[in-house]
């Protein structure tokens, strides 16, 4: 749920709950984005064998 939904209330419950939720989503999203971008970068520069 987003703050612009009518059920939204600016209270502790919503702040903690959705804070945690969006935080988790954010980390997962950012982490995966990083991995994809880094993988794409590594592929393009083809220095991927370095870790072997």
């Amino acid at each position: 749920m987003f703050p612009f939904c009518f059920e939204w209330a600016w209270d502790m419950g919503h702040a903690i709950f959705f804070g945690g939720f969006w935080y988790a989503i954010g980390i997962l999203g950012a982490g995966m984005t990083y991995c994809f971008l880094k993988a794409a970068y590594d592929t393009i520069n083809d220095n991927g064998d370095s870790h072997h």
Binding site: F36, A40, T43, I44
Partner: protein
């Protein structure tokens, strides 16, 4: 551009991002949200202006005022009518679910003609001329008396109209189904005078002694009775219930007198004997009584407390105490009629209870029993009787009651045609198989039913009737009420199917018959007829929706004739063999008699009454033997066997099996029919000498594990 790995990857990622950002997702989500919230197969009732219309419910003899809520003229809810003299805003579950009857799956949608084993649709013109032709043949063969009529109620303009038809046709063979109303009329006729009825002023009584009457389970006018019971505490009125099981009424009572089933009359006579022996009232205050001395002698000899104890199982001391409590109350009243007081009643029992009222000086007293005059608001013009009619109507009736008629028909026949209106004898009478066999002996049966019930299924022609919500009719109270109120039932909706008011159908038929019959039915419609015959009260009736004819005790004390009680031999003990006595049990949530329950009513029925396809029978655990609660058992009587479910009930006398009435219908309504067993299938009629009533309150039965 060369598609290499890099650009392919880019394209893929780009497409994914593009779809994610495009409105497609949001749109699909939104659509699925809307679609999943409004399934196309979930009905959306049409909205509109709310209005309320007043009418009267005629499902049972209660004659309650109803208020019908409509949306744009479409009825959506039935409620009790506020300030109505009978039900004062209250309603019962059957009345409230009245709208379900409009669209009942078993409703007969057009006139039908039996062809072999099947019904085929015909037009009203065809139907009327078919019946007119058959009846014409009967009259031509000079046996007009061989037309019979079985009706449900015998008051109001519709029953008068049917009787009028029979008169003009030339047959005396009119029979009514047993009802509390008819039993009370018989009682009045037996011990007071003919053409009277009895009304019990429960509202003003301070001591109600009920002989098994299910006062809060459908006896009389149900809502009025429930209200009278509800006000008892404020009025400090006592209720003593004579019963063999803990019915709801017994449970609501201040005291229960446990009695062996079928001995209620003896208890009433025992109480009379105590009153005679211990008080001076009978010899001093009663006047104009016939055969009082013989009655007193009989009581003295046969109904001493000790003897009554031996018969009823009620302790002699309790009998004496009860009698004294009764007589010392300010406004006591004794109420007859086990259960709803319709089927399986004995006139001896009704009369004994009424004798108790008479001895206690409770006739025509406030809070007592009223010996009432007929409503007398109907003025029909003289019937035009032609020669054939005169001749036929002068003949003797085939039988004294509908039960005797069934007997007679089954054995020797005797009717060539039969009208059935407002009755379902093939279900409601004891031993329906015999009734069906009797029906088969009648050549031509015409049903005026609204529903394809057990009896309609056996008819040759059906002239389908509009139900109470579709028709105009005067509905007069009765059924043990101590007041006479005529209500006007008004069409709340146009007939849903190709049905007619049975009055209109009868008028059409009479006119098609020609001769004197047509002259007797010269109205252009039932509406015109009703307006004419209720002329005195029509204006008030149509303006207010009801007319209170009388609600005060009748003046004077009527004479009491004890001849019937002195001569009435006792009914034989229940027939057959078995360790148990099977008795039918009336339940408020199950309609009895000719009325069928609605889907809503059946839905409310407890699982201790109906469980899946099984009727649940009440039995005291102490006499259940090896049977356990919830077992499926075979219940066997001299009349038949049935599989039932055992329901332990501490509240029933040991040795008695209570079986709900109103189940076991067999017709095409999956919500109501095919559930449980019709208790009448298991009980054989026992015709009471002197009254012709089927007095079989029960039957010997045996139980074994299935």
């Amino acid at each position: 551009m060369k598609i290499d790995r890099r650009s392919f990857l880019g394209l893929g990622l780009g497409a994914a991002a593009g779809i994610a950002l495009s409105p497609v997702g949001v749109k699909l989500t939104d659509d699925s949200s809307i679609w999943t919230q409004n399934w196309p197969w979930t009905p959306v009732p049409e909205d509109g202006e709310i209005t309320y219309d007043r009418s009267v419910c005629s499902l049972c003899p209660g004659a309650c005022g109803i208020s019908v809520r409509k949306i744009n003229g479409r009825p959506v809810k039935i409620e009790g009518l506020d300030d109505h003299p009978i039900n004062n805003g209250g309603a019962c579950l059957h009345g409230i679910s009245g709208l379900q009857y409009l669209y009942d799956p078993a409703r007969i949608k057009t006139p039908l003609k039996k062809n072999g084993n099947k019904f085929e649709k015909i037009s009203w013109d065809e139907a009327i001329s078919l019946v007119a032709q058959k009846l014409g043949e009967i009259r031509e063969s000079d046996t007009p008396e061989s037309l019979g009529l079985i009706t449900g109620a015998d008051n109001g303009s519709m029953s008068r109209l049917f009787e009028r038809f029979m008169g003009a046709f030339g047959s005396p063979n009119t029979y009514t189904m047993p009802s509390l109303e008819s039993n009370l009329a018989l009682t009045a006729a037996a011990i007071h005078s003919a053409d009277r009825s009895l009304g019990f002023d429960l509202d003003h009584s301070d001591f109600i002694l009920s002989f098994g009457a299910a006062i809060i389970e459908g006896w009389g006018s149900p809502v009025a009775c429930i209200q009278a019971n509800a006000s008892r505490r404020e009025r400090k009125a006592k209720l003593v219930q004579v019963d063999y099981r803990l019915s709801n009424t017994a449970n609501a009572a201040d005291k229960i007198i446990a009695v062996k089933p079928g001995t209620e009359a003896d208890l009433a006579l025992g109480l009379c004997a105590v009153l005679l022996a211990k008080t001076q009232i009978s010899t001093n205050t009663l006047y104009g009584d016939v055969n009082k001395l013989a009655f007193a002698a009989m009581l003295e000899k046969e109904y001493t407390p000790d003897k009554v104890e031996a018969i009823t199982g009620v302790k002699a001391a309790d009998i004496e105490a009860l009698a004294m409590e009764f007589i010392k109350a300010k406004a006591p009243v004794a109420v007859p009629g086990k259960g709803r007081g319709d089927v399986g009643q004995s006139l001896r029992e009704f009369a004994a209870v009424q004798a108790l009222n008479a001895l206690a000086g409770r006739l025509n007293k406030e809070g007592g029993v009223f010996v009432m005059w007929p409503a007398g608001y109907l003025n029909f013009p003289e019937n035009v009787m032609d020669a054939a009619a005169e001749q036929g109507a002068g003949k003797a009736k085939l039988a004294g009651s509908v039960n005797e008629l069934v007997d007679k028909l089954e054995k020797d026949g005797g009717l060539s045609a039969l009208f059935i209106y407002n009755a379902n004898p093939c279900y409601a009478l004891n031993n329906p198989e015999k009734v069906k066999a009797a029906m088969d002996k009648v050549g031509f049966k015409v049903s005026f039913s609204s529903f394809m019930d057990e009896t309609a299924l056996r008819s040759d022609v059906i002239l389908p009737a509009s139900i109470f919500l579709e028709r105009l009719e005067d509905v007069v109270s009765g059924a043990g009420l101590a007041k006479t109120v005529v209500g006007l039932c008004r069409p709340m909706v146009k007939p849903v199917f190709d049905t007619k008011h049975p009055g209109d159908a009868l008028i059409l038929l009479a006119q098609a018959m020609g001769a004197g019959i047509a002259q007797s039915f010269s109205w252009e419609s039932y509406e015109a007829c009703l307006e004419e015959v209720t002329e005195k009260i029509w204006d008030t009736l149509s303006d207010d929706g009801y007319v209170v004819i009388d609600d005060k005790p009748p003046v004077g004390t009527p004479a009491t004739d004890f001849t019937f009680l002195v001569s009435a031999p006792k009914v034989a003990v229940p027939m057959g063999e078995g360790d148990y006595t099977l008795v039918p049990v009336d339940k408020m949530r199950l309609a009895g008699g000719s009325m069928t329950s609605s889907p809503f009513a059946v839905k409310t029925v407890s699982d201790t009454v109906l469980s899946g396809k099984y009727s649940v029978v009440e039995i005291n655990p102490t006499t259940a033997g090896v049977l356990k609660d919830g077992d499926i058992a075979v219940l066997k009587t001299a009349m038949g066997t049935a599989k039932v479910k055992i329901g332990f009930n501490e509240g029933i006398l040991p040795g008695v099996i209570g079986m709900p009435r109103g189940l076991g219908h067999a017709f095409n309504n999956p919500y109501v029919a095919g559930k449980g067993v019709n208790v009448n299938d298991l009980i054989g009629p026992v015709i009471e000498p002197g009254s012709g009533l089927d007095a079989a309150f029960g039957i010997k039965a045996s139980l074994s594990k299935a």
